[in-house]
Homo-oligomer: 152 residues x 3
């Protein structure tokens, strides 16, 4: 089987680029996840996974990551992305991602509601939340991104 | 290399949620794949993989999964998702996914046609098919999802 | 951790199909990656990874792959996809993907610009580039696909 991740951190960042994909790439760099290979996952924090904001991951590594992002080419538009981890007292957690044409506060509140619903659906106690959010006013082509990379 | 999966099952389920992502999350829960990390793959059943509908996968595991889904926020709309596995006599199989604004029967028939085409394209004999399909009448925000999780 | 890939190649191919997903499937087959499980990654070439255009990957394998594709059902439309690997003198490289309603040359040039920007953003020297591009005139439902599968 594929090994289950043991560590994680949250990141949220935004950037401009000359194209859609380079705006995304620059947002990844700005969020300190630009030189690894993100593998998108939906979206459970494994039991016992430790929060480690100082995690250093070697370049090119395959990194299971829950993320949301938005790219916009409409100058002046406000875009936002947020990601949240909901923690249970004693087992796995749940990760939620959001992105949209809105500000950071709305993105933050959406994540909060989504985590609360996810724990209600599972009949689990939501002990704590960690949320990272970012907003960005588009200049030419901008990207807002929020991610929870998971590692070992 | 990443280990090649040895087992699989099919699931199809639908649910409502308060947001797009929580409707998806609730459909995953309803399909018994809500507490794992789906890694989306395209879409081959490894040679020798065994069908195991009783598979229990630990929470937070990284699970290679072929899936299709649709989320709709149009009350009254009928949505459907289906997934199919085409089996060969002696080697790998092919997985196809479908989702759309239609009923279960149309989703089922689409998968059947797609599997037949996939085997014609490969000049392989299609020995057997397993198909799972679901339909859902949207109340507020609904998701129909069909998946083939693969495991070890 | 997940093992970091050590080899890669580039492929670009196009095909028709009777549905969106089978057009994609046929393009994968045409590009010699139709019988494996692509896991989409964003998009770094690991340090030391070797270019091996003769790579043979067993069917059903889980293969980390950066790719871009476009499917069109508009007969007569010209679609294209391209993928590029930017190489540094001594460390990791960067992979860029593009797809759009355009010809092969435009796709090629977009990839070139994106790789140049990606290396400027990282303040790294772009020593060499490998690019694969394809264009396709849609008959009924066509797919143009370009990919960088990575392996061990």
């Amino acid at each position: 089987m594929l090994p289950t991740p043991k560590k994680y951190f949250l990141t949220a960042a935004a950037a401009e680029g000359e194209s859609t994909l380079t705006a995304f790439d620059n947002a990844l760099l700005s969020g300190k996840v630009g030189n690894i290979n993100l593998i998108r996952v939906s979206s459970i924090l494994p039991p016992g996974a430790e929060h480690d904001p100082e995690l250093v991951i070697p370049p090119g590594s395959l990194v299971p990551t829950a993320y949301g992002y938005i790219v916009s080419s409409e100058p002046g538009q406000l875009i936002a992305a947020a990601v949240g981890v909901g923690l249970s007292p004693d087992t796995f957690g749940v990760i939620m991602e959001f992105s949209g044409v809105c500000g950071k506060e709305e993105a933050y509140n959406n994540i909060k509601s989504m985590l609360e619903e996810a724990f209600r659906s599972r009949k689990m106690e939501l002990k704590d939340m960690k949320i990272a959010a970012v907003e960005h006013r588009v200049v030419k082509t901008g990207c807002a991104l929020a991610a929870v990379p998971m590692w070992y």
